[in-house]
Symmetry: none
Subunit: 134 residues, 4 copies
Amino acid sequence: MRFELNFKSSKPVYLQVVDQVKAAVASGAARPGDTLPSIRPLAEELRVNRNTIAKAYTELEHQCVITTRTGRGCFISDADSPLHKEARLQLVTEEMDQAVIQAHHLQIDRDEFLQLALTRFDAFAQRRLTASDE
Amino acid sequence: MRFELNFKSSKPVYLQVVDQVKAAVASGAARPGDTLPSIRPLAEELRVNRNTIAKAYTELEHQCVITTRTGRGCFISDADSPLHKEARLQLVTEEMDQAVIQAHHLQIDRDEFLQLALTRFDAFAQRRLTASDE
Amino acid sequence: MRFELNFKSSKPVYLQVVDQVKAAVASGAARPGDTLPSIRPLAEELRVNRNTIAKAYTELEHQCVITTRTGRGCFISDADSPLHKEARLQLVTEEMDQAVIQAHHLQIDRDEFLQLALTRFDAFAQRRLTASDE
Amino acid sequence: MRFELNFKSSKPVYLQVVDQVKAAVASGAARPGDTLPSIRPLAEELRVNRNTIAKAYTELEHQCVITTRTGRGCFISDADSPLHKEARLQLVTEEMDQAVIQAHHLQIDRDEFLQLALTRFDAFAQRRLTASDE
DNA sequence: GTGGTCTAGACCACC
DNA sequence: GTGGTCTAGACCACG
């Protein structure tokens, strides 16, 4: 699993790690049961402090993306997201609203926006399919 | 000009303001010479501290997006030219991809996702319409 | 709000703080909208590091017990627990099972156990009522 | 003797074992001279590392609850006498209060709580029965 | 070896 | 003033 950090971003490093793990899971690149890199080596590789990675992993556990077993390591959770549909839709809605705001400010019209939603969704699904063929 | 703030985002409020002004300029929705809302009323409307808006405007001036003339107000600079449609789409695409990742991670299917794109876009358009009637 | 820490307990200090805030909310001693002690003074008062309190507050926010607004402070959430009933019952079940295990090992029989559940629940409700009369 | 472990508790696994043995002794369910399960099979049954069980037994020996005779096994010491009923109820009450706090915090009402106490108690009794049939 | 907790102290962003 | 992030390094518990 490869991580790319941008230390100049306003997004905290630990959240960048969180998002990249979630993206890996979402895309199928990381599968349930897979072990994540252990904290210390990963911290060294990314040139950040151990606590920063630990914080990212804690956050991921809160979000039920991974499970950690002390002394054993951290693993991708196998359970489907335990959140109810309503709660899950709420989370996606928050992201979607960011895109909507951006679209309106940039004068992207309704048709273009829907077209974009469609193509990006499918492009991602395609990448996911490819990953699972490996 | 309408602003949409998300207080729980990791992106600081003042940067959300900066980005939304820049997006308006990039799209041509805000034109050189247009005046921005003055600090105090805007801060009140958005329920944030005046310093937060002041900081956003300072940042925008540093980036040469606006010019402030003390005692007169803040204006869009002449320098910038609206981005081509392609460049604007690229910016929205980045936001859309975040929503796509979230959707896949939360097992939202294609139809639900497109439905969401549609409803949130229209909901926002509706809110703008209502606001402009006031 | 008073905190009592036991540094010899195997329960981490930050979790003791979490539990005591939750108990205060549950009992009605802390009400929605109330502000929690700020991190630095509380850390000083309890003779622990600022990070320890910060960790406790982060955990409480994850559990939707409090909301924190950077630069303003931490507040008891006003929303009802957003968890669905099923999820909430699950959490109580985990605690109940601890009591059940203890009861079986200690040879407490069914009637005694149910009697205990009843009296402790009512005793707590009573304390809560008293608190809200203040 | 049956053990019930909760891997997500903040209480370490080895202490859960310690407490459950002590509870059995306190109630008289385990009597002086009784042999405890040997380490390897128990570790296997509970899916934990042998060291974890060994640590629990070491701790129990330090507390003079058991005596280990190398090559023969571990036995309940003669020293302890079962606690009076009142003392045992006190121990269960502590656990019950945790469940009560959780229930109030999660807005579980009186009837639901008592129902839960009943079903979990019986579910546990049932599991014990089934296990002893094996 | 693994992850978890805690400290001490720095710097930043927001109000 | 507030909370948020990050570092450096300590000690513990678990496997």
